[in-house]
Amino acid sequence: MIGRIDQQFPGFNQRPETPPSAAFNPNSQLKIPDASKTQDWDPRTMLSNLSFLEDKIHQLQDLVHLIVGRRAEVVGRSNEFVPQQQQLITADLTSIIVQLISTAGSLLPSSKHSLPSVTPIVTQLGQLDGGLFPTGSGLNGFVPPHNGVSKVEDQSNQIDPTNVCGPEQNYSVEENESKDEEDADDGENLPPGSYEILQLEKEEILAPHTHFCVICGKGFKRDANLRMHMRGHGDEYKTPAALAKPHKESNSEPMLIKRYSCPYVGCKRNKDHKKFQPLKTILCVKNHYKRTHCYKSYTCSRCNTKKFSVLADLKTHEKHCGRDKWLCSCGTTFSRKDKLFGHIALFQGHSPAIPSDETKGLAGHSDRGEIDEAPNKVARLDFNFSSDTSIEGGIHNATNSKGSVDDPTGYFSPLNFDTCNFNGFREFSRNPFDDSESSFSFLISGSCKYPGKTGEEPGSNDLQR
């Protein structure tokens, strides 16, 4: 369900517009794809936007229908899914509203505003893929292999003491990948005092947007996007001066470097911490705060175990969740096998974990403790079950073949084989713990019991004791 809606998000970012005119801003240093997409109000665009919105609302309608239907089915269990469903719908509705406003905004009379900006353009570029609407651009798609190595180390020495919000210790590689963003300045070693420390309050950090359009009120996470948006409000916003970063153009005197502090007291990223490590950008602050000090409210709908506080993290995770998942006994997952093996080679006692659907009752790894006890029991139960049934099958057939010794013609009649085998089949198809792999072997074990009994009944009965 989520996946389907995911795919619709890019549609908003990449609104169906006429091809970009490269000649428009030849000296612009902006490299965001949207930068070149600018033009006057176009009724055709409006129409396509509106029809897109219509589709979108229909889809949402379907979704709500589906939820209503499902809720009727599972009355008892519905509670746990309620927040997720609400989230889903809210997210969808919000995006529809935003799109509606922005469509409408292009019709409004325009006015000029100076745009306050704090984030340097370079980080904006980096933030593109961490944003609310991942565009699936090449930036996000490729992860250089060497990243992983540093990530593993990262995990080993970065035991975050402030990780109080989530009881689970399920780091995923995906999560770490985005963590790099905030840790990137670790090696920077700016001398204290050489930079200005800003500390945003919790409310500020958790506010959905920081940049608001003064004309239409639309909120943006990035100033650059706001400036892009402003172009729709009139020609005066389309000048290179208005599109360029305000600071670098207007202020020629060097600004003091800005670094950010986390408002959470005791956090390493808090300015009062002994080994304070500042955060580079506001986005870093936001992601850091959400990841480490907030409840992880987004649960992966595929695995139902992984939780995230940043939506983008969830989406990155969902891209990989369930497929190509290399799992370690410690619970860490890897997107690549060599990363898993590197991890195992590095740590004592860690070993590759076999996906649960493959093991189904494998005697567990001690590392995982109680969680594995349950499947273990299932396995034993399973096993007993099979031997029980084989007794029946065995005795049944023993009589069968005994009878046939006297009657050589009956011995070879296919009917006899039919009854034996079908008996075995039926027994095992009833197995409640059945899965595709083991049911096959049980089937054989059942169907084979009987031939051995032709004369050796006591011996094989011993087996069952």
Binding site: K337, F341, A345, I354, T359, A363, A379, P408, S447, S460
Partner: protein, 711 residues
Amino acid sequence: MNLLTKMKKPKQTHVPSTNYFDLLSEEIVFSILDFLDDNPLDKKSFSLVCKSFYTTESLHRRALKPLRSEHLTKILHRYPCITNLDLSLCPRIDDSSLTVISNVCKNMLRSIDLSRTKFFTHVGLSNLVLNCVNLVDIDLSNATELKDPAAAAIAEAKNLERLWLRRCKAITDIGIGCVAVGCKKLRLISLKWCLGIGDLGVGLIAVKCKEIRSLDLSYLPLYVKLWTEDLVTYAGLVITMPAVGLEITKNCLLPILELQYLEDLFLEGCFGIDDDSLAALKKGCKSLETLDMSSCQNVSHVGLSSLTSDTACLRQLILAYGSPVTLALADSLQKLSMLQSIKLDGCLVTCPGLKAIGNWCISLRELSLSKCLGVTDEGLSSLVTKHKDLRKLDVTCCRKITHVSIAHITNLCTSLTSLRMESCTLVSRESFVLIGQRCQCLEELDLTDNEIDDEGLKSISRCSKLSNLKLGICLNITDGGLAHIGLCCSQLIELDLYRSAGIMDTGILAIARGCPGLEMVNIAYCTEITDHSLMSLSRCSKLNTLETRGCPLITSLGLAAIAVGCKQLAKLDTKKCYNIDDAGMIPLAHFSQNLRQINLSYSSVTDVGLLSLASISCLQSMTILHLKGLTPSGLAAALLACVGLTKVKLQESFKSLLPRLLFEHLEARGCVFQWRDKVFQIIEMALRSTFYYLQAEVDPIFWKLQLEDVE
């Protein structure tokens, strides 16, 4: 032992109170029992003498090789001190069998062989490993169905030292990774043909199991590449990245060569290994004693010299089917001061290469040039000049060598114990006289397809230690020559006379008289041989393998004599013995209780004979093609009655004549069927009374001529 049984019984009835064996301590009886290893029936007779003998024997036995899994509980309770359990003869071992074993044997069990058995899963293995914590050896070879969960179950065997996983194709890096982490004490691991395991799994074994002595990685899909350059192509993009760190994860050879105790390394058929990767390693393995790099076609002397650079104690080097044996290769191996054995089978050999090997400072004990192209008199003669201590020499199919080479070899290498020279067709008759005159230490001699005659045999009969003699397709020998062998070579164990047409009953009689220890005899297509030969061979009580293919004069009478006399008979091939019928099967069924494998194709055996074989409890393999008298129902009865069958070769036609469920049932029991649909040619032709065709099939000279035509 049977004597003892007979003596003991009356004694006990007369004087029941005094048993002199009670005076002997258990240890002494145990050490007596240690000598009863030759025939398994001896121990059985011993245990049947009386209750105390029974108990003693039960306590004495350490190793068990049961035939069926049904009686495991009883057997294991009878023998409480079993440490080694070989289940390779059981056609079916399922999880319940393994659970029984694990519950009864518990801590006693140290070694278990599950190769060739099927049907058990990771659940059974897990039970076994959890209950038998002292397991040191596990052989899971050929368990092609086992997947990673099974390997993970094995990983719980913390005391495991030796693990064989040959042909476990479904196990992947993940599974072997679990083993690497769990079994820290591993000393030997064989992963031959484990096609699911690659660099990562192997690398992890080398990183985690530091005790490894022997590592078999033959035919693994390893892609040993070094990331020497900074440019790495990833998903079509070329990116610059540091190569540091990648080397360790990508190249599994590096951690292997760092293993401190590694002695044996088998890399046969690892096509991914090449000179570049080996040379880039710049590293050898110090402790290595045996190195097998057969069929590594991408490794030449460059990679080899890199790999053996630090290797001071290498004793055995196997380079079969590899790069050509040139001067460069020979020179690169010159430094190996401890080298004793080198195998170059199937390589292209140059004369300078052989000469350079001849110039090595060391003296080789073992040299194999089997099927090497380019071995000439000049090369071979100069090679042996330095290596006078040669014990084993294999020049099979070196077709260019002549009397000159043999003269040199026999002159210099007088302590040869094994000489294999099949199909050295240019070697003249006189050479074999030299072999007998000069190399009298010979124990193994393969003269298959050579020009040897009776004079040669007479000379060779001087090799009194001869135990293995192969005279197949030697068309010049007759009974006269063979009689000399029978007179002098009393230690003979194996004799191969395949298609040596000149041999008749008197020759075999001489052999049977003079060589009581014979275990294997092949008289296939010696068309003149009759029942008399079999009767004389029946006095060889240790005979376990007999092949009499295509001896049309042999009848059931001769076979009966063998059955009565040779109780150890395990393999019997009577294909195309048209005169063998049910009358031969009945004594066989009665006396040959050790028979495991039988080929009755083209014989006159019918339903009755086949069914009677069911009383042989250890019969496992049966080839029954083109039996005229065999009906579908008779076949079904026989197949059902022979409970231990694991392999049956059958005519394709029976597949449709019998219910599919029967075959499914038998397969579930552990039997594999091989279907053949060859035309019933020989008999058909014979029936058409075309003597010519029969002649073509059985007459060796005619057969050889045909062979040469094909060539």
